[in-house]
Structure formats: structure tokens, C-alpha cells
């Protein structure tokens, strides 16, 4: 059993290392993704609102607007051109002169956040000459651990652990089934449990490589924090990987063709890409959906990774998440063993 398990594990790793595409998706892709997203959401400080003002507006209004460093003002001679610019989103609001002694008019699109922000800034700018000093003092959040990339990185890590777990096992298994290699092994005295177990052992080896590479990149290149214990972090990724190995085994337990397994995998992963808080917090979904989101293994993994990395959580704090991961892993593995199709 031990020798068989070792050889089967070695076999899987050899085959893995000999697939350049797979290496790309596992190692290069998440790093590229983190880089792109980090760049897209990098801290840009206060970005001014782009607003339009008609040349016919009173001088005082135009001056007050131009004086604000929160506004980037474009002056329009032609009302129609200005309205078109607003409709197309090139400017966030348009300021036009009011009738007779009325205050100026602000035209805006209330469905656009930028538009609403710009309205407030315009209001603020026009009131500024009437005030003696600032109404509030501001302290922007810039500490490490609260940037978008800090939120994103654990999510990407979780998503990668899920992706390689499911695809790695699913494709390999269905490929072997399709090649009738599973049948060939059935006529040998190979212990079946060793075969299934080899998926989990080889997964752990790959996991170590994958997580270490990503973590090193995150810590050094993106300055993502790891506040909690690295041992707990490692344990957590092992729980996550085992959970998804079980899920992968279950999803691939009966599929005969690569197309089938592709569809099944996407079907299983889709709810988690959206509902597990990879790119944005699942708390943005309606309250009623939160329990479902939290029951997903990827949510448990992401939440626990964030707790450990960002909040320095201890083992007790993430016990519920570990429980969810364990439950998924055990149940899936047990069902997979029952329904597994060897032919």
C-alpha cells in the first residue's frame, strides 16, 4: 500500500510537471491576475470629479468651482454639447445658470455614484466662499491591510486552491477513465483506496508549491500582510485543499468525457466565484443569501484566510470555517467512494 501510494503520487506529479499549460494556470495566471487587479485598484488618492459648466453661468459660480481642488472643470459654450457630454458620462454633472435670481442648476444622473459625489462636491465648492474655515477634518485610510489588494489577495489564493483542486483531479481522472487506464489498474492488485488517496497526497505536494509561490509574491511584491501565525495559515490551506480534493473527486466520480467534466466543474465553481467573496464581499448580497454564501467551502476558506492574514485571527476564531471545510471534504470523499465509476 505504501509503495503503491508513493508511486501513484509520483506519477501524478510527473504528469503534472509535464503539462506546461497546467503550470501556467496554476502558477503564472494567479500572479498575473493579482498584478492586473492591484494595478486597476491601486490607491490613486482623491480623484477629482469631472464637471461641466456653461459659459453663461455667473462669474462667481465659475470661479468658486474652479477654485476647488476636488473638481476638474470644463467650460461649455453650447448647452447641447454639454448635455451630450453628461449623457455620455464624460462629465459627472453639469452646472448651468439659474433663472433670474435663483441659484445655479446642477444636472445629474442620480443612478451614477460619480454623479452623486460630484453634486456634493459642487455644493461644497459653492458654499466655500460663505464659510470662514473647513467644516470637518479628514483622515484617509492608507494603512497596509485595508487596501483593496489586501482584501483581494486572500480571495485569489482561495480561488486558486479551489481551481487547481477541482481541475487537477477532474481532468486527470476523466482522462484516465477515457483511456481505459482505470480498468487496466482494476485487473491488478492495486488497492483502490491507494489510488483515490494518491489524489489527496499529490494535491498536498502541489499545494505547498502553489501556496508558497503565491504567498511569497503577495508578501514581497504587493506588501500584503500576514498577521496571523504561518502555521495556522498552512493548516488552513491544507483543510481547503483537502476539501476541494474531495469535491473534485465527487464531481469526477462518474463523468466519462472531458466535455462533461468541464461543464460540471464550471457549474460547481460558478456559485463560488460569485458568492464566496473573491472579488467583493458577499455581504453585498441580500441578507437572506448570507447563510448560503457562508455554507460554500470557498467562502469558508476565503473568510478564514482573510481573518488569519488581515486580522491575525487564531485557531479558535476560524474554527467554524475549518468545520465547514472539513464537512465538505469528508462528505464528498465518502460519497465519491460510493458512486465512483471505475470503467
Amino acid at each position: 500500500m505504501g509503495r503503491t501510494l508513493w508511486e501513484l503520487t509520483r506519477l501524478r506529479l510527473l504528469l503534472f510537471l509535464r503539462e506546461p499549460e497546467v503550470l501556467f494556470w496554476v502558477f503564472a495566471f494567479p500572479i498575473i491576475m493579482a498584478l492586473v487587479l492591484a494595478f486597476a485598484f491601486k490607491d490613486r488618492g482623491v480623484e477629482p470629479s469631472k464637471i461641466g459648466v456653461l459659459a453663461s453661468a455667473p462669474d462667481a459660480v465659475r470661479k468658486a468651482l474652479a477654485a476647488s481642488d476636488e473638481l476638474e472643470v470644463e467650460t461649455y459654450d453650447d448647452r447641447e454639447v454639454a448635455e451630450h457630454a453628461l449623457a455620455r458620462g464624460r462629465i459627472d454633472v453639469l452646472v448651468s445658470p439659474g433663472a433670474a435670481s435663483e441659484p445655479p442648476l446642477v444636472h445629474l444622473d442620480e443612478n451614477r455614484t460619480e454623479s452623486v459625489t460630484a453634486r456634493l462636491r459642487v455644493r461644497d465648492a459653492l458654499q466655500a466662499p460663505l464659510r470662514s474655515g473647513p467644516v470637518t477634518e479628514e483622515r484617509p485610510v492608507a494603512a497596509v491591510g485595508s487596501r483593496y489588494i489586501d482584501f483581494l489577495f486572500p480571495g485569489l489564493l482561495g480561488m486558486n486552491i479551489m481551481g487547481t483542486g477541482l481541475w487537477g483531479i477532474g481532468f486527470y481522472l476523466v482522462d484516465q477513465r477515457q483511456k481505459k487506464l482505470l480498468r487496466r489498474m482494476l485487473v491488478t492488485p492495486m488497492p483502490r483506496a491507494a489510488y483515490l488517496l494518491s489524489f489527496i497526497t499529490s494535491r498536498f505536494v502541489l499545494l505547498a508549491a502553489e501556496v508558497l509561490a503565491l504567498l511569497a509574491f503577495g508578501l514581497w511584491m504587493l506588501d500584503v500582510p500576514l498577521d496571523g501565525s504561518i502555521v495556522l495559515f498552512g493548516l488552513l490551506t491544507i483543510f481547503g485543499a483537502a476539501s476541494f480534493a474531495g469535491l473534485g473527486l465527487l464531481v469526477a466520480s462518474r463523468a466519462r468525457h472531458i466535455e462533461t467534466i468541464s461543464n460540471l466543474m464550471n457549474l460547481v465553481m460558478m456559485p463560488m466565484w460569485l458568492g464566496s467573496g473573491v472579488f467583493f464581499s458577499y455581504e453585498r448580497f441580500p441578507e437572506a443569501m448570507h447563510p448560503f454564501c457562508r455554507a460554500l467551502p470557498l467562502t469558508a476558506l476565503n473568510d478564514a484566510l482573510r481573518a488569519v492574514m488581515l486580522d491575525g485571527a487564531g485557531a479558535n476564531d476560524i474554527a467554524p470555517e475549518l468545520g465547514v471545510l472539513l464537512a465538505w471534504g469528508v462528505v464528498c470523499y465518502a460519497v465519491a467512494l460510493k458512486v465512483f465509476r471505475w470503467e
Binding site: 506519477l11 487496466r184 485487473v187 491488478t188
Partner: protein
């Protein structure tokens, strides 16, 4: 005589309403090779898979090396070698790595170099499976089946799809195994393969045995020394030939026509061919591709079923 290496009685296997194997009995004496010959869909693969323990028969009993699948599965598997039809080995592994994985399944594997030597792949040891020719892949698959020094070897169409030379090299490996005292069960639809490798042959059709014995016994059973075959050229005068034109030639047995090919089973080749040529001349018929060949298992199959082995 020692106990048979394989013994099966009354095997039945159905797939839905189709009866793939219909009450089949067979025995293989230790140290001999039994060839299971039949067209595609005759039930050869289903039969061999039941004997390999891959499928459960719906009825019947199987004993392998004196053991039963229900109780002794793992022990049987230690002692048999199997080559399945159309198994594809991992293309990205080398030959040696492939054998290494299979070796790890057995309690007492052979040294891998020894296996490479037996199947003639020593110089391909470090080559990826994907770079091998069809014949080399097949020999590697044979190597995987021999890695545990099996007493009994199951080969399901071992040379299908190979060119004649590659086929002969596969045969040499099998012959070396039997001459060392190994027992073989072989399925094939090549009569030449069955004749060359088998001590005994069972011809099956539609899940039943239709002939059994040594290749020579089965051929002798047809009571024809040779087969005479020719085509009738279609362009002479264009007139239809009278029915039964060649029916009563001296020394010739039953006549068979498929398309414009006519064939006879003959007991006296000289007399029959002489009479045939005379008859053709009398009726001004041109015979194309006239040839005779020694009776083969294929002819026996055609005679018994009216169909060819190859196209089932």
C-alpha cells in the same frame, strides 16, 4: 494431468435484452494457449472480461488457478497478467516510469530491465510512451502484463491494428511466455494469429461456441483440403451465367458466391481446378484472380456461419 488453469461453466452475460455470452463452457490446461476466435461482437471481449474479474457473469461459474473471484480476487490478481483491448498508456511517461508504476502494484515484481529485455524495448527505456510506434506501445503493454511473472496471461486482441512485422514481434513475446510454461487466453479475429499461437481454439459466434479443438482438428473437420477462389469477369458477352454452372465439379464441395467472387471447398485440388477450367472454356467465361489456398480457420468460420470473420 494437473487441474486446469482456467475453468468456466455455463457463462451467461446479458446487456439489456442482448445476450452477449450465451452459456459458454471453457477450460484451459496449465501451460497451454487457448485462442478465442470470432468476429467483432461475438462475445469474445465480454467472455475474457468475465474471466479477468472485470465483469460479473449473470450466470455460471469461474475458477482461475483453482480460486474464485468472490473470495480470492486479490490473490488471483497477483498471479495474472492482463492486456486489455485499447488501453492507452500515459503518453507523457517514459517506458521505464510506466513499468515502475505497474511494478508497485505487485508483491514480487520482476526487475524492470528484465521485462524491457523480454519485450525488446531495452533501447526505449527512457523514451516517452508518446514517441513509440503502435507495435512498441503494444509490447510495452505486454511488458506491463508480464511485470509480476504471471502464471496466466489474458490477451484481448493483442495485435489488432499492427502491421505484419510488429505483429510477429508481439507473437514472439507470447511464444516465449508459453514456452516457459505460462498459460495464455487470447482473443483475436486474425485466424493466422490463432493458428500460430494457440494449442486449442474455440470459435465463437453470437455468444456460443460453434467449433472447438486444435487448429488442425478444426480445419480437418471441414473435410476440405483447400479452397479455390476466383472472380467472374463481368464484361464477356454480358450474358448472365446459368445458375449452378459450377455446382457439380468433381472433387469440389459446397460453392459459395458473394458478389462476383466464387469460392469452393475442394478435396482434390488438381481434379477440381482442371474441371473448373474446362467448364469455364465450354461456357466462354473468363475467370479472374483464380487462386487456391490451404484451408484456414477463416474458411471454417465462413463455412459454419456464412459470414467473414473480419467484417462480422
Amino acid at each position: 494431468m494437473s487441474a486446469p488453469a482456467v475453468s468456466a461453466k455455463g457463462l451467461v452475460r446479458r446487456f439489456g435484452t442482448v445476450v452477449a455470452v450465451d452459456g459458454l463452457d471453457l477450460e484451459i490446461d496449465a501451460g497451454t494457449c487457448l485462442g478465442l476466435l470470432g468476429p467483432n461482437g461475438a462475445g469474445k471481449t465480454t467472455t475474457i472480461e468475465m474471466l479477468e474479474g472485470l465483469r460479473r457473469p449473470d450466470a455460471g461459474e469461474i475458477e482461475i488457478l483453482g480460486m474464485g473471484w468472490d473470495r480470492d480476487g486479490p490473490r488471483i490478481r497477483q498471479r495474472i497478467g492482463v492486456q486489455l483491448q485499447e488501453t492507452m498508456l500515459q503518453e507523457k511517461l517514459t517506458c521505464d516510469e510506466t513499468l515502475r508504476v505497474f511494478a508497485s502494484f505487485y508483491a514480487h515484481p520482476r526487475p524492470r530491465d528484465e521485462v524491457m529485455d523480454i519485450v525488446g524495448l531495452v533501447e526505449k527505456k527512457g523514451a516517452r510512451v508518446g514517441t513509440l510506434s503502435g507495435g512498441q506501445k503494444q509490447r510495452l503493454a505486454l511488458g506491463c502484463a508480464l511485470i509480476n511473472r504471471p502464471d496466466l496471461l489474458f490477451l484481448d486482441e493483442p495485435s489488432t491494428g499492427l502491421d505484419p512485422q510488429a505483429r510477429r514481434r508481439v507473437w514472439e513475446v507470447v511464444e516465449a511466455f508459453t514456452s516457459d510454461g505460462g498459460t495464455v487466453l487470447l482473443t483475436t479475429h486474425y485466424m493466422e494469429e490463432a493458428e500460430r499461437l494457440s494449442d486449442r481454439v474455440i470459435i465463437i459466434d453470437q455468444g456460443r461456441i460453434i467449433a472447438e479443438g486444435s487448429p488442425q482438428q478444426i480445419i480437418d473437420g471441414l473435410d476440405a483440403e483447400a479452397i479455390v477462389e476466383f472472380r467472374i469477369a463481368s464484361d464477356r458477352n454480358g450474358a448472365d451465367l446459368p445458375d449452378g454452372l459450377f455446382d457439380d465439379l468433381p472433387g469440389a464441395g459446397s460453392v459459395r458466391r458473394s458478389g462476383d467472387v466464387v469460392s469452393f471447398e475442394v478435396t482434390d485440388v488438381q481434379a477440381a481446378v482442371f474441371a473448373l477450367l474446362q467448364r469455364a472454356k465450354e461456357h466462354d467465361v473468363a475467370l479472374d484472380d483464380l487462386r487456391t489456398h490451404r484451408t484456414t480457420l477463416e474458411d471454417v468460420f465462413v463455412s459454419l456461419t456464412g459470414r467473414q470473420l473480419r467484417d462480422g
